[in-house]
């Protein structure tokens, strides 16, 4: 069963060595759907050309990037997608593809299979076509996405249904889970609706309320044993690990340490949720941006223990603080933001209820 990621195993080593191990690369913000909660904003400026992308991929390979997550927008709206993806495989990247699946037919599915991607992730918003299509705002999209899952599954690929949970579909994620089981694919639920990449908070209005968030986060169907493992790890880790690892536990997330984001225009961010450009790859080398850009170094210097506003919070050990979301909400990477506080309180409550 394909469940683990090499990133989980090697992530800490890459952080210690400063290796940019995993890249989220949005190849285009253009999309054939109009999802109500979409975080991207298509600009009028030109996207990276095939030649520019190939040059970037060569730079990433020589910097140590192994995982390459192609996303968008919709990746298959790029006519050169397979030229880029084939090139990436020649450079020995492990490819992760995120798509809405609606452009995948038999022929495209064959081409995807020939890439041997590590994983393909397809968004399904509901088990009901009507609800799904009302979120994508494209009639018939549910049918096409489910068909794509079947085509890829038939070709032996590891497919995951990504179920983004919002007000419109909160009562249906169990059914989407059962749909994933009937299709024989993996299931992932995501209650995190983020502001648009330009800071516009419009998508956040679709975010589920605290009561529903508690329902999702405490649902044994979704969380299972994984949360227990993770919680035990973080609760016990400080007693088990050496000084280096304590330092790693003080890092808010892997963004800028071993993970980074590239926009279709060549801007490098620590993460898609942390849209502060560290430089543009049409002007600077990746090596310079990763190792010397002041913005990247600033993101890398962030530590959980250096957030005075949160240091005395009783839920600190349950907090998955995201500096990017903090930045988007208040303009300050160190200030608490509502969603992080809500989630930490819920985790704490779940833990109290277990006792």
């Amino acid at each position: 069963m394909k469940q683990m990621s090499l990133f989980d195993i090697e992530g800490d080593n890459c952080v210690k060595k400063g290796i940019p191990f995993k890249c989220h690369f949005d190849l285009s913000y253009h999309c054939n759907m109009k999802c109500i909660h979409c975080y991207v904003l298509e600009k009028k400026q030109p996207t990276l050309t095939t030649i520019e992308i190939k040059d970037i991929l060569r730079q990433l390979a020589s910097s140590g990037t192994l995982y390459l997550h192609f996303s968008g927008g919709e990746i298959f709206t790029r006519k050169d997608f397979f030229e880029i993806a084939d090139y990436a495989r020649k450079l020995h990247f492990a490819l992760i593809l995120s798509t809405n699946g609606t452009l995948i037919d038999e022929k495209i599915a064959d081409k995807i299979a020939s890439l041997n991607p590590f994983k393909v992730s397809i968004s399904i918003y509901s088990s009901h076509a009507k609800t799904h299509d009302s979120i994508t705002r494209v009639s018939g999209s549910f049918k096409k996405s489910v068909n794509a899952i079947k085509l890829l599954k038939e070709r032996g690929l590891w497919v995951t249904i990504n179920n983004m949970v919002m007000k419109q579909n909160i009562h249906d994620y169990h059914n989407v889970y059962h749909l994933s089981k009937s299709l024989g694919v993996n299931f992932q639920v995501d209650p995190q609706i983020t502001p648009r990449i330009d800071g516009n908070k419009n998508p956040v209005k679709f975010q589920i309320n605290e009561k529903d968030l508690y329902q999702v986060m405490s649902d044994p169907l979704i969380i299972g044993l994984e949360s227990e493992k993770s919680e035990n790890y973080y609760k016990n880790a400080k007693h088990m690990v050496n000084e280096d690892e304590v330092e790693i536990l003080d890092i808010p997330c892997m963004a800028s340490h071993s993970f980074f984001y590239i926009s279709p225009y060549g801007d490098v961010y620590p993460c898609v949720q942390f849209p502060v450009s560290a430089g543009n790859l049409t002007e600077k080398s990746f090596d310079w941006i990763w190792n010397y850009s002041p913005s990247m170094l600033n993101a890398r210097s962030l530590r959980k223990s250096k957030r005075p506003a949160c240091s005395k919070c009783e839920n600190l050990s349950y907090c998955n603080f995201c500096p990017g979301l903090a930045h988007m909400e208040s303009g300050d990477v160190k200030l608490p933001y509502q969603r992080a506080c809500q989630e930490a309180e819920i985790r704490s409550k779940i833990n109290r209820e277990k006792k």
Binding site: K2, M4, L6, E10, T65, L66, R89, H92, N116
Partner: protein, 98 residues
Amino acid sequence: MMNDCIIKNDEKIAYRVIEDKTLVVNLENSTFHTLNPIATIIWNNLDGKTPITTIAKNISKEFDIDFETAQKDCLEFINDLIEKGLIILCSNQAEEIK
């Protein structure tokens, strides 16, 4: 067999050499393998041109060990990689190397 060459199973794997270690992902079954520095030297020589015997000679020289030991270690490692589906023998004889 010692004169056979080996190629990496490029269609089915992803890999990256990071400093003196190599991380290999078998994309068929998502198994992960970390190669240590000596294994990484052998891995870097699996280019479809260099015979196993030359790789063993290079390891013997580089680490100042006798050729027989280097040869035995190389063969064990290569058999292991073949078993895991990470490499392919260039010859048509993909049976276990003796």
